[in-house]
Protein backbone atom coordinates (compact mmCIF):
# COMPACT_ATOMS: atom_id res chain seq x y z
CA UNK A 1 0.00 0.00 0.00
CA UNK A 2 1.26 3.38 -0.87
CA UNK A 3 0.18 4.74 2.41
CA UNK A 4 2.10 2.19 4.29
CA UNK A 5 5.27 2.83 2.42
CA UNK A 6 4.93 6.54 2.66
CA UNK A 7 4.24 6.32 6.27
CA UNK A 8 7.14 4.10 6.89
CA UNK A 9 9.39 6.36 4.96
CA UNK A 10 8.19 9.30 6.90
CA UNK A 11 8.74 7.64 10.15
CA UNK A 12 12.11 6.27 9.43
CA UNK A 13 13.35 9.60 8.25
CA UNK A 14 12.55 11.54 11.32
CA UNK A 15 14.98 11.46 14.09
CA UNK A 16 16.08 14.14 16.43
CA UNK A 17 15.06 17.72 16.63
CA UNK A 18 15.20 18.40 12.96
CA UNK A 19 12.46 16.03 12.57
CA UNK A 20 10.29 17.78 15.04
CA UNK A 21 8.63 19.98 12.55
CA UNK A 22 8.39 17.18 10.15
CA UNK A 23 7.00 14.96 12.79
CA UNK A 24 4.44 17.44 13.90
CA UNK A 25 3.42 17.84 10.36
CA UNK A 26 2.95 14.16 10.05
CA UNK A 27 1.06 14.05 13.23
CA UNK A 28 -1.13 16.76 11.96
CA UNK A 29 -1.64 14.95 8.73
CA UNK A 30 -2.51 11.83 10.57
CA UNK A 31 -4.94 13.77 12.66
CA UNK A 32 -6.49 15.25 9.61
CA UNK A 33 -6.67 11.89 7.98
CA UNK A 34 -8.46 10.56 10.95
CA UNK A 35 -10.72 13.52 10.81
CA UNK A 36 -11.42 13.00 7.17
CA UNK A 37 -12.13 9.36 7.65
CA UNK A 38 -14.30 9.82 10.61
CA UNK A 39 -16.97 11.72 8.76
CA UNK A 40 -16.97 9.99 5.47
CA UNK A 41 -20.26 11.24 4.35
CA UNK A 42 -19.34 14.84 4.37
CA UNK A 43 -18.20 16.91 1.51
CA UNK A 44 -15.44 18.53 3.45
CA UNK A 45 -14.17 15.22 4.72
CA UNK A 46 -13.94 13.88 1.22
CA UNK A 47 -12.20 17.00 0.05
CA UNK A 48 -9.80 16.82 2.96
CA UNK A 49 -9.12 13.23 2.23
CA UNK A 50 -8.42 14.02 -1.36
CA UNK A 51 -6.13 16.81 -0.37
CA UNK A 52 -4.19 14.66 2.01
CA UNK A 53 -3.83 11.90 -0.47
CA UNK A 54 -2.70 14.36 -3.04
CA UNK A 55 -0.06 15.59 -0.70
CA UNK A 56 1.05 12.09 -0.10
CA UNK A 57 1.48 11.60 -3.75
CA UNK A 58 -1.43 9.36 -4.34
CA UNK A 59 -4.25 10.30 -6.52
CA UNK A 60 -7.64 9.10 -5.81
CA UNK A 61 -10.89 10.00 -7.40
CA UNK A 62 -13.82 10.57 -5.21
CA UNK A 63 -17.33 11.19 -6.23
CA UNK A 64 -19.04 13.82 -4.33
CA UNK A 65 -22.73 13.71 -4.09
CA UNK A 66 -23.07 17.44 -4.16
CA UNK A 67 -24.94 18.57 -7.17
CA UNK A 68 -26.13 21.93 -8.18
CA UNK A 69 -24.47 23.47 -5.29
CA UNK A 70 -21.92 25.63 -6.87
CA UNK A 71 -23.02 29.16 -7.20
CA UNK A 72 -21.32 32.27 -8.19
CA UNK A 73 -20.17 34.30 -5.32
CA UNK A 74 -22.38 37.19 -6.14
CA UNK A 75 -25.43 35.07 -6.19
CA UNK A 76 -24.33 33.41 -3.02
CA UNK A 77 -24.08 36.72 -1.33
CA UNK A 78 -27.34 37.74 -2.80
CA UNK A 79 -28.82 34.68 -1.31
CA UNK A 80 -27.49 35.72 1.99
CA UNK A 81 -29.95 38.47 1.78
CA UNK A 82 -27.52 41.21 2.40
CA UNK A 83 -29.05 43.64 0.09
CA UNK A 84 -29.04 46.56 2.35
CA UNK A 85 -25.67 47.85 1.58
CA UNK A 86 -23.11 47.59 -1.08
CA UNK A 87 -20.37 47.57 1.48
CA UNK A 88 -22.16 45.01 3.53
CA UNK A 89 -22.56 42.74 0.62
CA UNK A 90 -18.94 43.05 -0.27
CA UNK A 91 -17.93 42.39 3.29
CA UNK A 92 -20.10 39.38 3.61
CA UNK A 93 -18.87 38.08 0.32
CA UNK A 94 -15.30 38.43 1.42
CA UNK A 95 -16.03 36.51 4.55
CA UNK A 96 -17.85 33.83 2.67
CA UNK A 97 -14.82 33.48 0.49
CA UNK A 98 -12.58 33.22 3.49
CA UNK A 99 -14.79 30.56 4.95
CA UNK A 100 -14.74 28.70 1.69
CA UNK A 101 -11.01 28.64 1.83
CA UNK A 102 -10.99 27.44 5.39
CA UNK A 103 -13.38 24.59 4.99
CA UNK A 104 -11.88 21.88 2.82
CA UNK A 105 -13.76 21.65 -0.38
CA UNK A 106 -15.66 24.77 0.32
CA UNK A 107 -14.91 26.55 -2.89
CA UNK A 108 -17.40 24.54 -4.80
CA UNK A 109 -20.22 24.82 -2.37
CA UNK A 110 -23.13 27.08 -2.32
CA UNK A 111 -23.55 29.29 0.67
CA UNK A 112 -26.11 27.17 2.40
CA UNK A 113 -24.17 24.01 1.74
CA UNK A 114 -21.09 25.80 2.88
CA UNK A 115 -22.69 26.59 6.17
CA UNK A 116 -23.76 23.01 6.57
CA UNK A 117 -20.30 21.75 5.91
CA UNK A 118 -18.84 24.39 8.16
CA UNK A 119 -21.02 23.27 11.02
CA UNK A 120 -20.00 19.68 10.55
CA UNK A 121 -16.39 20.61 10.09
CA UNK A 122 -16.42 22.64 13.25
CA UNK A 123 -17.84 19.73 15.15
CA UNK A 124 -15.24 17.40 13.78
CA UNK A 125 -12.46 19.84 14.54
CA UNK A 126 -13.72 20.22 18.05
CA UNK A 127 -13.67 16.49 18.49
CA UNK A 128 -10.23 16.23 17.09
CA UNK A 129 -8.88 19.00 19.23
CA UNK A 130 -10.30 17.43 22.32
CA UNK A 131 -8.90 14.06 21.35
CA UNK A 132 -5.47 15.41 20.71
CA UNK A 133 -5.57 17.46 23.83
CA UNK A 134 -6.56 14.44 25.87
CA UNK A 135 -3.81 12.44 24.29
CA UNK A 136 -1.30 15.14 24.99
CA UNK A 137 -2.46 15.39 28.56
CA UNK A 138 -2.26 11.69 28.93
CA UNK A 139 1.17 11.45 27.54
CA UNK A 140 2.22 14.33 29.66
CA UNK A 141 0.91 12.67 32.73
CA UNK A 142 2.48 9.40 31.86
CA UNK A 143 5.72 11.03 31.07
CA UNK A 144 5.64 12.69 34.40
CA UNK A 145 4.76 9.48 36.11
CA UNK A 146 7.50 7.72 34.35
CA UNK A 147 9.94 10.31 35.44
CA UNK A 148 8.67 10.13 38.95
CA UNK A 149 8.83 6.39 38.89
CA UNK A 150 12.29 6.65 37.61
CA UNK A 151 11.46 4.57 34.58
Amino acid sequence: MDKKHDHRAMFSSERGHDGLVERSRRIKMAAEMGLARSSRGRHWSRALHRRLLRRKGATRGGSCGCKDEALTSSKAVEELGVGENEDDAVEVEARVHALQRLVPGGEELSVERLFEETADYIEALQGQVSAMRALACLLDELERDKRVMGG
Binding site: F11, K28, E79, F115, A119, L125, R133, L138
Partner: protein, 491 residues
Amino acid sequence: MEKERFLSVDCKSRDMNSGAVADQLPRPFLDLSWEQPVHHGAQFESAISSLVSSPSSNPSAGNGSVVVRELIGRLGSICDSGEISQASCYRTPLDSPPKLTLPVLGHLQQGGGGLPMPGNEMADGQFTPFAANPGFTERAARSSCFGTWSYGGLGDQSGLPEAGNLSRVPRSHSLKSAGALRMGVLDSGKDASKSNPERIEMEMRSKLGGGMPPSSTSGRTMAGGAANNVSRRKAASKGRGKEAPLSCSNHLGLQAAEDEHPDVKRCKSAKNNGADKDSVVKQETEQNIGASQKKGKENNAKPPEPPKDYIHVRARRGQATDSHSLAERVRREKISKRMKLLQDLVPGCNKITGKAMMLDEIINYVQSLQRQVEFLSMKLATMNPQLDFDLETLLQESMHQEHEPLPQQLYPLEGTSAAFSYAQRPQGSPLQSAITNGLGVGQQPLCPFDGLADATSQLGNFWESDLQYVVHMGFGQSQGAEFFSQSLHAE
Protein backbone atom coordinates in the same frame (compact mmCIF):
# COMPACT_ATOMS: atom_id res chain seq x y z
CA MET B 1 -60.11 39.37 -0.71
CA GLU B 2 -57.49 38.70 1.77
CA LYS B 3 -58.94 35.35 2.29
CA GLU B 4 -58.93 34.60 -1.33
CA ARG B 5 -55.34 35.44 -1.52
CA PHE B 6 -54.91 33.55 1.58
CA LEU B 7 -56.31 30.62 -0.18
CA SER B 8 -54.21 30.98 -3.20
CA VAL B 9 -51.06 31.76 -1.45
CA ASP B 10 -51.35 29.62 1.49
CA CYS B 11 -51.95 26.31 -0.05
CA LYS B 12 -49.56 23.67 0.76
CA SER B 13 -51.25 20.80 -0.69
CA ARG B 14 -48.85 18.27 0.48
CA ASP B 15 -51.15 17.23 3.18
CA MET B 16 -54.09 16.56 1.12
CA ASN B 17 -55.18 15.46 -2.15
CA SER B 18 -56.74 18.75 -2.68
CA GLY B 19 -59.19 17.53 -5.16
CA ALA B 20 -60.61 14.97 -2.91
CA VAL B 21 -61.00 17.29 -0.07
CA ALA B 22 -61.83 20.33 -1.99
CA ASP B 23 -64.69 18.68 -3.62
CA GLN B 24 -66.21 17.95 -0.35
CA LEU B 25 -65.68 21.26 1.16
CA PRO B 26 -67.93 23.50 -0.83
CA ARG B 27 -70.95 21.76 0.45
CA PRO B 28 -70.68 22.77 4.01
CA PHE B 29 -69.77 26.23 3.06
CA LEU B 30 -73.20 26.82 1.84
CA ASP B 31 -74.28 26.97 5.37
CA LEU B 32 -72.32 30.02 5.98
CA SER B 33 -74.17 33.17 5.53
CA TRP B 34 -72.28 36.25 4.89
CA GLU B 35 -73.80 39.62 4.97
CA GLN B 36 -70.92 41.27 3.40
CA PRO B 37 -67.72 40.27 1.86
CA VAL B 38 -65.84 41.92 4.58
CA HIS B 39 -65.19 39.38 7.20
CA HIS B 40 -64.21 40.14 10.61
CA GLY B 41 -62.45 37.85 12.86
CA ALA B 42 -65.58 36.47 14.37
CA GLN B 43 -67.01 35.51 11.08
CA PHE B 44 -63.68 34.13 10.19
CA GLU B 45 -63.75 31.89 13.14
CA SER B 46 -67.26 30.81 12.56
CA ALA B 47 -66.22 29.83 9.11
CA ILE B 48 -63.43 27.92 10.59
CA SER B 49 -65.63 26.12 12.99
CA SER B 50 -67.99 25.21 10.26
CA LEU B 51 -65.06 24.04 8.30
CA VAL B 52 -63.94 22.01 11.18
CA SER B 53 -67.25 20.35 11.43
CA SER B 54 -67.71 19.97 7.75
CA PRO B 55 -65.00 17.54 6.91
CA SER B 56 -66.53 15.02 9.17
CA SER B 57 -69.47 14.85 6.90
CA ASN B 58 -67.35 14.06 3.95
CA PRO B 59 -66.49 10.45 4.07
CA SER B 60 -64.78 10.38 0.79
CA ALA B 61 -62.30 12.93 1.89
CA GLY B 62 -60.57 10.17 3.69
CA ASN B 63 -57.10 11.16 4.49
CA GLY B 64 -57.72 14.66 3.53
CA SER B 65 -60.49 15.26 5.96
CA VAL B 66 -58.41 14.24 8.88
CA VAL B 67 -55.70 16.47 7.76
CA VAL B 68 -58.10 19.24 7.07
CA ARG B 69 -59.60 18.91 10.44
CA GLU B 70 -56.28 19.05 12.06
CA LEU B 71 -55.13 21.92 10.00
CA ILE B 72 -58.27 23.81 10.48
CA GLY B 73 -58.09 23.25 14.15
CA ARG B 74 -54.67 24.73 14.08
CA LEU B 75 -55.87 27.49 11.92
CA GLY B 76 -58.64 28.19 14.34
CA SER B 77 -56.23 28.53 17.15
CA ILE B 78 -54.16 30.85 15.10
CA CYS B 79 -57.14 32.80 14.09
CA ASP B 80 -57.92 33.29 17.68
CA SER B 81 -54.64 34.89 18.15
CA GLY B 82 -54.66 36.81 14.99
CA GLU B 83 -58.20 37.87 15.01
CA ILE B 84 -57.63 41.51 15.17
CA SER B 85 -55.23 41.76 12.39
CA GLN B 86 -57.35 39.53 10.33
CA ALA B 87 -60.32 41.68 10.82
CA SER B 88 -58.41 44.70 9.83
CA CYS B 89 -57.05 43.10 6.81
CA TYR B 90 -60.31 41.83 5.75
CA ARG B 91 -61.81 45.15 5.99
CA THR B 92 -59.60 46.61 3.41
CA PRO B 93 -60.20 44.54 0.37
CA LEU B 94 -63.30 46.05 -0.88
CA ASP B 95 -62.19 49.55 -0.39
CA SER B 96 -58.88 49.42 -2.03
CA PRO B 97 -57.31 47.16 -4.51
CA PRO B 98 -56.54 44.24 -2.38
CA LYS B 99 -52.91 43.93 -1.77
CA LEU B 100 -51.28 40.74 -1.04
CA THR B 101 -51.11 41.42 2.61
CA LEU B 102 -51.46 38.26 4.43
CA PRO B 103 -51.59 38.90 8.08
CA VAL B 104 -53.35 35.67 8.51
CA LEU B 105 -50.64 34.03 6.61
CA GLY B 106 -48.14 35.74 8.75
CA HIS B 107 -49.91 34.45 11.77
CA LEU B 108 -50.08 31.07 10.33
CA GLN B 109 -46.47 31.20 9.62
CA GLN B 110 -45.70 32.13 13.11
CA GLY B 111 -48.10 29.90 14.77
CA GLY B 112 -48.65 27.00 12.57
CA GLY B 113 -45.54 26.50 10.67
CA GLY B 114 -47.10 24.42 8.07
CA LEU B 115 -50.69 25.19 7.77
CA PRO B 116 -51.08 24.56 4.18
CA MET B 117 -54.59 23.77 3.61
CA PRO B 118 -56.50 25.40 6.34
CA GLY B 119 -56.10 28.72 4.81
CA ASN B 120 -57.21 27.16 1.67
CA GLU B 121 -60.25 25.58 3.08
CA MET B 122 -61.11 28.35 5.30
CA ALA B 123 -60.85 30.86 2.62
CA ASP B 124 -62.97 28.73 0.46
CA GLY B 125 -65.48 28.55 3.14
CA GLN B 126 -65.84 32.18 2.72
CA PHE B 127 -65.90 32.02 -0.95
CA THR B 128 -69.23 30.43 -1.02
CA PRO B 129 -71.03 33.37 0.31
CA PHE B 130 -69.09 35.40 -2.11
CA ALA B 131 -70.74 33.59 -4.85
CA ALA B 132 -73.87 35.36 -4.09
CA ASN B 133 -72.02 38.55 -4.25
CA PRO B 134 -71.96 39.93 -7.73
CA GLY B 135 -68.54 41.30 -7.19
CA PHE B 136 -67.35 37.93 -6.11
CA THR B 137 -66.42 36.64 -9.45
CA GLU B 138 -64.57 39.77 -10.05
CA ARG B 139 -62.66 39.52 -6.90
CA ALA B 140 -62.16 35.87 -7.23
CA ALA B 141 -60.81 36.48 -10.64
CA ARG B 142 -58.54 39.08 -9.27
CA SER B 143 -57.30 36.97 -6.50
CA SER B 144 -56.82 34.03 -8.68
CA CYS B 145 -54.35 35.80 -10.79
CA PHE B 146 -51.65 33.71 -9.39
CA GLY B 147 -51.64 32.27 -12.76
CA THR B 148 -54.60 30.08 -12.69
CA TRP B 149 -57.25 32.21 -14.11
CA SER B 150 -57.78 34.22 -17.16
CA TYR B 151 -59.63 37.38 -16.76
CA GLY B 152 -61.90 37.42 -19.66
CA GLY B 153 -64.05 40.39 -19.51
CA LEU B 154 -62.70 41.62 -16.27
CA GLY B 155 -63.09 45.25 -16.51
CA ASP B 156 -61.59 46.05 -13.25
CA GLN B 157 -57.96 45.50 -13.59
CA SER B 158 -57.05 46.99 -10.34
CA GLY B 159 -56.90 43.67 -8.71
CA LEU B 160 -54.55 42.22 -11.19
CA PRO B 161 -51.41 44.10 -10.40
CA GLU B 162 -51.42 42.97 -6.88
CA ALA B 163 -52.83 39.71 -7.93
CA GLY B 164 -49.71 39.56 -9.91
CA ASN B 165 -48.07 39.98 -6.63
CA LEU B 166 -49.77 36.98 -5.30
CA SER B 167 -47.42 34.40 -4.24
CA ARG B 168 -46.80 32.10 -7.00
CA VAL B 169 -44.99 29.64 -5.01
CA PRO B 170 -47.98 27.53 -4.21
CA ARG B 171 -47.45 24.85 -6.63
CA SER B 172 -49.62 22.79 -8.72
CA HIS B 173 -51.46 21.05 -6.01
CA SER B 174 -52.24 24.02 -4.01
CA LEU B 175 -53.19 25.96 -7.02
CA LYS B 176 -55.32 23.26 -8.35
CA SER B 177 -56.92 22.73 -5.09
CA ALA B 178 -57.69 26.37 -5.09
CA GLY B 179 -59.02 26.01 -8.52
CA ALA B 180 -61.08 23.06 -7.60
CA LEU B 181 -62.41 24.81 -4.62
CA ARG B 182 -63.24 27.86 -6.53
CA MET B 183 -64.88 25.81 -9.07
CA GLY B 184 -66.90 24.07 -6.48
CA VAL B 185 -67.66 27.30 -4.83
CA LEU B 186 -68.80 28.97 -7.93
CA ASP B 187 -71.03 26.15 -8.71
CA SER B 188 -72.39 25.96 -5.28
CA GLY B 189 -73.13 29.57 -5.46
CA LYS B 190 -75.43 28.83 -8.26
CA ASP B 191 -76.38 25.32 -7.54
CA ALA B 192 -75.95 24.01 -4.13
CA SER B 193 -75.91 20.40 -4.90
CA LYS B 194 -72.60 19.83 -6.46
CA SER B 195 -70.79 17.11 -4.79
CA ASN B 196 -68.13 15.91 -7.08
CA PRO B 197 -65.75 17.46 -9.45
CA GLU B 198 -67.13 15.76 -12.44
CA ARG B 199 -70.50 17.23 -12.05
CA ILE B 200 -69.05 20.54 -11.34
CA GLU B 201 -67.03 20.39 -14.40
CA MET B 202 -69.94 19.41 -16.47
CA GLU B 203 -71.84 22.27 -15.12
CA MET B 204 -69.12 24.60 -16.00
CA ARG B 205 -68.92 23.10 -19.35
CA SER B 206 -72.53 23.76 -19.90
CA LYS B 207 -72.11 27.23 -18.64
CA LEU B 208 -69.26 27.83 -20.88
CA GLY B 209 -71.23 26.57 -23.74
CA GLY B 210 -73.95 29.05 -23.05
CA GLY B 211 -73.94 32.78 -23.27
CA MET B 212 -71.47 34.69 -21.29
CA PRO B 213 -72.31 37.99 -19.78
CA PRO B 214 -69.23 39.95 -18.95
CA SER B 215 -69.23 39.43 -15.25
CA SER B 216 -70.05 35.82 -15.42
CA THR B 217 -67.65 35.45 -18.23
CA SER B 218 -64.87 36.05 -15.89
CA GLY B 219 -66.50 33.75 -13.47
CA ARG B 220 -66.93 31.06 -16.00
CA THR B 221 -63.55 31.64 -17.31
CA MET B 222 -62.35 31.15 -13.89
CA ALA B 223 -64.47 28.12 -13.59
CA GLY B 224 -63.08 26.93 -16.84
CA GLY B 225 -59.72 27.74 -15.59
CA ALA B 226 -60.53 25.94 -12.44
CA ALA B 227 -61.73 22.97 -14.35
CA ASN B 228 -58.64 23.24 -16.35
CA ASN B 229 -56.62 23.36 -13.29
CA VAL B 230 -58.49 20.55 -11.74
CA SER B 231 -58.09 18.45 -14.76
CA ARG B 232 -54.53 19.46 -15.00
CA ARG B 233 -53.98 18.72 -11.42
CA LYS B 234 -55.51 15.36 -11.80
CA ALA B 235 -53.53 14.67 -14.84
CA ALA B 236 -50.49 15.80 -13.04
CA SER B 237 -51.08 13.79 -9.97
CA LYS B 238 -51.95 10.86 -12.02
CA GLY B 239 -49.23 10.99 -14.54
CA ARG B 240 -46.30 13.11 -13.78
CA GLY B 241 -46.52 14.25 -10.29
CA LYS B 242 -46.73 17.94 -10.35
CA GLU B 243 -45.40 18.51 -13.78
CA ALA B 244 -48.57 18.43 -15.72
CA PRO B 245 -48.02 20.16 -18.98
CA LEU B 246 -50.11 23.12 -19.63
CA SER B 247 -49.68 23.61 -23.23
CA CYS B 248 -52.00 26.47 -23.70
CA SER B 249 -51.63 27.84 -20.31
CA ASN B 250 -48.84 30.13 -21.06
CA HIS B 251 -50.68 32.74 -22.85
CA LEU B 252 -53.83 32.11 -21.01
CA GLY B 253 -52.46 32.35 -17.58
CA LEU B 254 -54.08 29.08 -16.81
CA GLN B 255 -50.91 27.61 -15.68
CA ALA B 256 -51.08 25.05 -13.01
CA ALA B 257 -48.50 26.76 -10.94
CA GLU B 258 -45.76 24.37 -11.70
CA ASP B 259 -43.60 27.13 -12.94
CA GLU B 260 -42.86 30.00 -10.76
CA HIS B 261 -41.38 32.32 -13.21
CA PRO B 262 -43.97 32.77 -15.84
CA ASP B 263 -46.59 33.36 -13.26
CA VAL B 264 -46.40 37.05 -13.20
CA LYS B 265 -46.24 37.27 -16.91
CA ARG B 266 -49.07 34.89 -17.35
CA CYS B 267 -51.11 36.79 -14.94
CA LYS B 268 -50.60 39.99 -16.74
CA SER B 269 -50.91 38.51 -20.11
CA ALA B 270 -54.06 36.88 -19.04
CA LYS B 271 -55.29 40.18 -17.95
CA ASN B 272 -54.51 41.65 -21.27
CA ASN B 273 -55.73 38.87 -23.40
CA GLY B 274 -58.54 37.72 -21.30
CA ALA B 275 -61.25 38.54 -23.70
CA ASP B 276 -59.67 36.72 -26.54
CA LYS B 277 -58.93 33.69 -24.57
CA ASP B 278 -62.32 32.89 -23.39
CA SER B 279 -63.06 30.71 -26.29
CA VAL B 280 -59.74 29.03 -26.00
CA VAL B 281 -60.41 28.50 -22.39
CA LYS B 282 -63.68 26.97 -23.21
CA GLN B 283 -62.14 24.63 -25.64
CA GLU B 284 -59.49 23.65 -23.24
CA THR B 285 -61.94 23.13 -20.53
CA GLU B 286 -64.04 20.91 -22.64
CA GLN B 287 -61.07 19.00 -23.78
CA ASN B 288 -59.87 18.53 -20.32
CA ILE B 289 -63.13 17.81 -18.72
CA GLY B 290 -63.49 14.48 -20.35
CA ALA B 291 -60.07 13.50 -19.31
CA SER B 292 -60.47 14.98 -15.94
CA GLN B 293 -63.67 13.18 -15.30
CA LYS B 294 -61.98 9.91 -15.77
CA LYS B 295 -59.11 10.96 -13.71
CA GLY B 296 -61.17 12.63 -11.12
CA LYS B 297 -62.30 9.44 -9.56
CA GLU B 298 -58.90 7.96 -9.66
CA ASN B 299 -57.56 11.08 -8.20
CA ASN B 300 -59.99 11.03 -5.39
CA ALA B 301 -59.06 7.52 -4.65
CA LYS B 302 -55.42 8.33 -4.65
CA PRO B 303 -53.75 9.13 -1.43
CA PRO B 304 -52.49 12.63 -1.02
CA GLU B 305 -49.15 12.99 -2.57
CA PRO B 306 -46.64 14.93 -0.71
CA PRO B 307 -45.08 17.33 -3.14
CA LYS B 308 -41.65 16.80 -1.93
CA ASP B 309 -39.91 18.34 -4.80
CA TYR B 310 -41.70 21.59 -4.38
CA ILE B 311 -40.98 24.27 -1.97
CA HIS B 312 -44.05 25.93 -0.67
CA VAL B 313 -43.62 29.37 0.54
CA ARG B 314 -46.02 31.82 1.88
CA ALA B 315 -45.67 35.40 1.04
CA ARG B 316 -45.33 37.52 4.05
CA ARG B 317 -47.03 40.73 4.64
CA GLY B 318 -45.53 43.61 2.86
CA GLN B 319 -43.12 41.52 0.91
CA ALA B 320 -42.75 41.05 -2.74
CA THR B 321 -44.32 37.92 -3.94
CA ASP B 322 -43.00 37.31 -7.37
CA SER B 323 -41.39 34.03 -7.91
CA HIS B 324 -37.85 35.24 -7.89
CA SER B 325 -38.01 37.02 -4.64
CA LEU B 326 -39.89 34.19 -3.06
CA ALA B 327 -37.34 31.67 -4.06
CA GLU B 328 -34.70 33.98 -2.83
CA ARG B 329 -36.47 34.38 0.40
CA VAL B 330 -36.69 30.65 0.82
CA ARG B 331 -33.00 30.39 0.29
CA ARG B 332 -32.33 33.22 2.58
CA GLU B 333 -34.34 31.57 5.28
CA LYS B 334 -32.45 28.38 4.81
CA ILE B 335 -29.23 30.20 5.03
CA SER B 336 -30.21 32.07 8.13
CA LYS B 337 -31.31 28.81 9.68
CA ARG B 338 -27.91 27.39 9.03
CA MET B 339 -26.28 30.46 10.39
CA LYS B 340 -28.20 29.94 13.58
CA LEU B 341 -26.85 26.44 13.69
CA LEU B 342 -23.38 27.75 13.35
CA GLN B 343 -24.10 30.32 15.97
CA ASP B 344 -24.88 27.56 18.38
CA LEU B 345 -21.71 25.78 17.56
CA VAL B 346 -19.42 28.70 17.89
CA PRO B 347 -19.13 29.70 21.49
CA GLY B 348 -19.94 33.24 22.37
CA CYS B 349 -21.86 34.04 19.29
CA ASN B 350 -25.19 34.53 20.84
CA LYS B 351 -24.88 38.20 21.30
CA ILE B 352 -23.49 38.91 17.95
CA THR B 353 -25.93 39.99 15.34
CA GLY B 354 -25.34 40.69 11.77
CA LYS B 355 -24.21 38.36 9.11
CA ALA B 356 -20.80 39.86 8.62
CA MET B 357 -19.96 39.73 12.29
CA MET B 358 -21.25 36.22 12.61
CA LEU B 359 -19.25 35.10 9.68
CA ASP B 360 -16.27 36.78 11.18
CA GLU B 361 -16.71 34.86 14.37
CA ILE B 362 -17.20 31.63 12.56
CA ILE B 363 -14.12 32.14 10.51
CA ASN B 364 -12.12 33.00 13.55
CA TYR B 365 -13.34 29.96 15.33
CA VAL B 366 -12.54 27.61 12.50
CA GLN B 367 -9.13 29.16 12.19
CA SER B 368 -8.52 28.82 15.87
CA LEU B 369 -9.56 25.19 15.82
CA GLN B 370 -7.25 24.48 12.97
CA ARG B 371 -4.45 26.25 14.72
CA GLN B 372 -5.14 24.25 17.83
CA VAL B 373 -4.86 21.06 15.88
CA GLU B 374 -1.57 22.20 14.53
CA PHE B 375 -0.33 23.23 17.91
CA LEU B 376 -1.38 20.02 19.51
CA SER B 377 0.27 18.02 16.83
CA MET B 378 3.39 19.96 17.45
CA LYS B 379 3.05 19.33 21.14
CA LEU B 380 2.53 15.66 20.58
CA ALA B 381 5.57 15.64 18.46
CA THR B 382 7.60 17.07 21.28
CA MET B 383 6.28 14.69 23.80
CA ASN B 384 8.51 11.96 22.70
CA PRO B 385 11.24 12.57 20.25
CA GLN B 386 12.26 8.97 19.92
CA LEU B 387 10.64 6.27 18.00
CA ASP B 388 11.87 2.77 18.25
CA PHE B 389 9.12 0.58 17.15
CA ASP B 390 8.55 -1.30 14.04
CA LEU B 391 6.13 0.69 12.08
CA GLU B 392 5.80 -1.71 9.29
CA THR B 393 4.74 -4.54 11.44
CA LEU B 394 2.34 -2.29 13.13
CA LEU B 395 0.76 -1.25 9.92
CA GLN B 396 0.55 -4.76 8.69
CA GLU B 397 -1.09 -5.87 11.81
CA SER B 398 -3.56 -3.08 11.74
CA MET B 399 -4.46 -3.96 8.24
CA HIS B 400 -5.19 -7.44 9.30
CA GLN B 401 -7.52 -6.19 11.87
CA GLU B 402 -11.01 -5.13 11.07
CA HIS B 403 -11.65 -2.34 8.70
CA GLU B 404 -11.62 0.22 11.42
CA PRO B 405 -7.92 0.08 11.97
CA LEU B 406 -7.13 1.03 8.45
CA PRO B 407 -8.58 4.47 8.45
CA GLN B 408 -7.24 5.30 11.75
CA GLN B 409 -3.89 3.78 11.64
CA LEU B 410 -2.18 6.91 10.58
CA TYR B 411 -3.56 9.11 13.21
CA PRO B 412 -3.05 6.89 16.17
CA LEU B 413 0.29 5.80 14.93
CA GLU B 414 1.46 9.32 14.92
CA GLY B 415 -0.18 10.00 18.18
CA THR B 416 1.09 6.95 19.87
CA SER B 417 4.60 7.23 18.72
CA ALA B 418 5.34 8.61 22.10
CA ALA B 419 3.52 5.77 23.71
CA PHE B 420 5.35 3.21 21.72
CA SER B 421 8.63 4.67 22.46
CA TYR B 422 8.16 3.90 26.05
CA ALA B 423 7.98 0.25 25.46
CA GLN B 424 10.92 -1.53 26.89
CA ARG B 425 10.55 -4.23 24.41
CA PRO B 426 8.50 -4.22 21.31
CA GLN B 427 5.11 -5.37 22.19
CA GLY B 428 3.25 -7.83 20.10
CA SER B 429 1.97 -6.20 17.01
CA PRO B 430 -1.58 -7.11 17.75
CA LEU B 431 -1.34 -5.25 20.94
CA GLN B 432 0.11 -2.26 19.30
CA SER B 433 -2.52 -2.26 16.68
CA ALA B 434 -5.06 -2.66 19.37
CA ILE B 435 -3.74 0.46 20.89
CA THR B 436 -3.76 1.98 17.51
CA ASN B 437 -7.36 1.17 17.08
CA GLY B 438 -8.16 2.31 20.49
CA LEU B 439 -6.51 5.62 19.98
CA GLY B 440 -8.00 5.97 16.61
CA VAL B 441 -11.40 5.95 18.09
CA GLY B 442 -10.64 9.15 19.81
CA GLN B 443 -12.73 11.33 17.63
CA GLN B 444 -15.35 11.54 20.24
CA PRO B 445 -14.98 13.27 23.50
CA LEU B 446 -12.76 11.12 25.56
CA CYS B 447 -12.38 10.55 29.18
CA PRO B 448 -8.87 9.29 29.26
CA PHE B 449 -8.54 9.66 32.94
CA ASP B 450 -11.50 7.50 33.62
CA GLY B 451 -10.06 4.92 31.35
CA LEU B 452 -6.82 5.21 33.17
CA ALA B 453 -8.38 4.22 36.40
CA ASP B 454 -10.10 1.25 34.89
CA ALA B 455 -7.09 0.13 33.02
CA THR B 456 -4.92 0.33 36.04
CA SER B 457 -7.25 -1.62 38.15
CA GLN B 458 -7.99 -4.25 35.61
CA LEU B 459 -4.75 -4.91 33.93
CA GLY B 460 -2.41 -4.26 36.70
CA ASN B 461 1.08 -5.04 35.67
CA PHE B 462 0.30 -7.01 32.63
CA TRP B 463 1.90 -4.52 30.39
CA GLU B 464 5.49 -3.80 30.66
CA SER B 465 4.72 -0.24 29.83
CA ASP B 466 1.93 1.33 31.72
CA LEU B 467 1.63 3.93 29.13
CA GLN B 468 0.57 1.66 26.40
CA TYR B 469 -2.38 0.04 27.94
CA VAL B 470 -3.34 3.14 29.72
CA VAL B 471 -3.46 5.03 26.52
CA HIS B 472 -5.24 2.19 24.93
CA MET B 473 -7.85 1.90 27.56
CA GLY B 474 -8.21 5.57 27.82
CA PHE B 475 -8.93 6.19 24.25
CA GLY B 476 -10.52 3.14 22.99
CA GLN B 477 -12.78 2.13 25.72
CA SER B 478 -15.34 0.17 23.88
CA GLN B 479 -13.65 -0.62 20.67
CA GLY B 480 -10.20 -0.80 22.06
CA ALA B 481 -11.28 -3.19 24.68
CA GLU B 482 -12.31 -5.64 22.04
CA PHE B 483 -9.07 -5.43 20.26
CA PHE B 484 -7.25 -5.50 23.47
CA SER B 485 -8.81 -8.74 24.45
CA GLN B 486 -8.22 -10.04 20.99
CA SER B 487 -4.61 -9.15 21.10
CA LEU B 488 -4.31 -10.61 24.53
CA HIS B 489 -5.60 -13.87 23.27
CA ALA B 490 -3.39 -13.59 20.26
CA GLU B 491 -0.42 -13.38 22.45
